[in-house]
C-alpha cells in the first residue's frame, strides 16, 4: 500500500466522477426517491421499512453501481494497462476508488435521510448496521467490476443486485402470504435483517449482516484471484 498512489487515484477519480454524467445521475435517484416519499409520510415520518428502502436504493444505485461502472470503464478503455506495477498497486487502485465511492454514498445517503428524517439512525447499533451494509454493497460492486469488460454489461449485473438487495422491503408488497418460501428467504437478506433489528434491538441481526459482508468480501477475493490468473 502506498498512500501517495491512493491519493493520486482518489483525486483522479473524484475529478472524473464530476465529469461523468452517467455516474453523477446515480446519487440523484435516492435523493429524488426520498423527496417523493417525504411528501407521502405526513407528520409522523415514514415507517422504518420505507427508510430502509431508501438506504437500500442509495447503496445499490450509488455504491455498487458506481464502483462497477468505474472499474468496467477502466477495463473497457484499457487505462489500467501500464499502471500495474505490482499486485499491491492494484490494491491501491481499489482503495482509491472505494474512497471516492464512499464519499459519494455518504453525501447521497446524508441528503436523502435528512429529507425523510434521520432520527431512527442516530444510534450506535443502526450506524454499525449501515456501515456493514455499505461494505456489503461495496464488495459486491468491486467483485462484479473485476470481471465486467464493458460499461454496457454492468447494467445487466446491476439489475439483480438492485432488486434483490436494494429493494428487498418491496417484496412484502407482492402479497405472497406469510409463510411463502420467497418471504422466508428474503427475511434473511441484509436490509430485512436491519429492519428487524429496529424492532427487536438484537445484535444477531447485525451478526447476520456482518456474515453477508464477509461473504461479499470472499466473493471479491475469488473474483480478484480469477482476474489475476486470466492475465
Amino acid at each position: 500500500m502506498n498512500t501517495q498512489r491512493i491519493g493520486a487515484i482518489f483525486e483522479k477519480d473524484l475529478k472524473d466522477f464530476m465529469k461523468n454524467m452517467m455516474l453523477l445521475m446515480m446519487p440523484i435517484i435516492p435523493i429524488v426517491l426520498a423527496l417523493i416519499y417525504s411528501r407521502l409520510g405526513g407528520d409522523e415520518g415514514l415507517p422504518i421499512p420505507m427508510l430502509y428502502l431508501i438506504v437500500g436504493v442509495t447503496f445499490s444505485s450509488v455504491t455498487a453501481s458506481c464502483m462497477m461502472t468505474m472499474m468496467a470503464e477502466e477495463n473497457e478503455k484499457k487505462t489500467l494497462r501500464g499502471l500495474m506495477l505490482s499486485p499491491a498497486s492494484f490494491l491501491d487502485i481499489i482503495i482509491g476508488k472505494s474512497l471516492v465511492v464512499g464519499l459519494m454514498s455518504l453525501v447521497a445517503l446524508a441528503i436523502s435521510l435528512f429529507l425523510v428524517g434521520i432520527e431512527p439512525f442516530l444510534n450506535v447499533q443502526a450506524t454499525i448496521g449501515l456501515i456493514l451494509l455499505f461494505l456489503f454493497f461495496l464488495f459486491l460492486g468491486i467483485g462484479i467490476g473485476l470481471f465486467t469488460k464493458s460499461i454496457a454489461s454492468t447494467s445487466a449485473y446491476l439489475m439483480p443486485v438492485m432488486f434483490l438487495f436494494g429493494f428487498t422491503p418491496m417484496i412484502d408488497f407482492l402479497v405472497l402470504g406469510e409463510d411463502n418460501i420467497a418471504i422466508t428467504i428474503a427475511d434473511l437478506f441484509p436490509v430485512m435483517q436491519l429492519i428487524k433489528m429496529h424492532d427487536t434491538n438484537s445484535w444477531t441481526s447485525i451478526g447476520i449482516v456482518a456474515i453477508w459482508a464477509i461473504g461479499a468480501a470472499l466473493f471479491t477475493y475469488i473474483c480478484f484471484k480469477k482476474s489475476r490468473t486470466d492475465d
Binding site: 498512489r5 472524473d16 461523468n20 487505462t79 494497462r81 501500464g82
Partner: protein, 318 residues
Amino acid sequence: MTSFKLDYESVKSEILPPFSLNLNESYTTAIYSDTDMQAELLHTIRSNGEITVFDQQEGLYDRLTVVDNVSFYRKWFGCPIPLPEILVLFELQMCAKKPLRKCSQSEICRVYYAKYYMMNKHPMVFQEPIHGVDIKTINTFINMLKKVTDNKTPALILVSNLEHALLLSDVAYKLQEKGLQEIEVDIAEKDEVTPEAESAPKPSTLKLFKIPAKVEDKVILFDPLEIDYIESQDGRAMIVINEESFALDSTLAEIEKKLEVYGFYRCHRSYIVNLQKVREIITWSKNTYSLRIDNKPKSTIPLSRTKIQSIQDMFNLK
C-alpha cells in the same frame, strides 16, 4: 543505469531470426523492419514480461484535462520533476486545460510521451512513436530521447519506416529473415569515389530519357520528373512515387549519375531526392535535417549533416 542486452539467440520462431543486440545507454537504437517482423519481435519482447513496450495502445482518461492526466501519472509513478516542467518539456502548456477527447492526435501523442517519460522504465522500448504526428511533436520526442540518453537509460525504437529510423536513432538496424544488420548512417566518401572509375556511358538521347522499373513481368518507364525520391534498400534502388515504390535494377550510385541533370541530388547515403519536389527543409532540435517532399503522404527523407551546406547553396539560402 547501464546498457541492456536483448538476447533472442535461442528464440524459436518462424519469422524472427535469432539475434542479440546490446542497447547502449549513451545513444538511441532503432530497429527497422516490416510490420509482420515487428509484430513478431514485439511478441518476443513482451513474452518474457520484463520490458514494457510503449505502443500507445492503452487508454488515457479522455474526460479529464491534459494537466489532470499528467498530474495523475506524475503522482502515480512518483516522478520527482515538477509538473510545470513536464508540461513545458512536452509542449503541453497551451492545451493544458483542454479535455483529452477534444485534443488533436499530436497533442494526445505528447501526453503519451509525458506518461512514458515519467514511468522511467529501464530500458525504454517505443513502437512507432511518431506515426502520423506533426513536426512539433516529433521535435518533442527527439528532445525527450535526448533526456532519456542523458539519464543513461537505453532506448529502443521499433519502426517500419526507414526515414523514422534514421531520424530518431543514433544507430539503426534492419531486421530481416537473414538477421539483424546495421544501417550505416554516415556518408562514407569512399562510396562516392567508386562510380567515377566506372564512368557510365552517357545516354545518347538525353531528352527521351526514362527510368525503367520492373513490376512483376512488366517494365514501367518513369519520367524522371514524376519521381519523388529514390531510396536504397539492400543495395537496390527503389523509386518512390507517392505511396508506391518500384524496384530498379541499378544501384543508387549509377542512377545518381544519370539523374543529376534532371535536378536530382544525393542528399543522404541511401537517398536521392528530386529537388523540384522538395517543399520544406526541416531542422530538428538535435541539429539534424530532413527534406519534406511535396507528394501525397508528405514524406520526410533524411538530409545528411554534411550535405546541408550544398543544399542551401543550391537554393541560394544563407
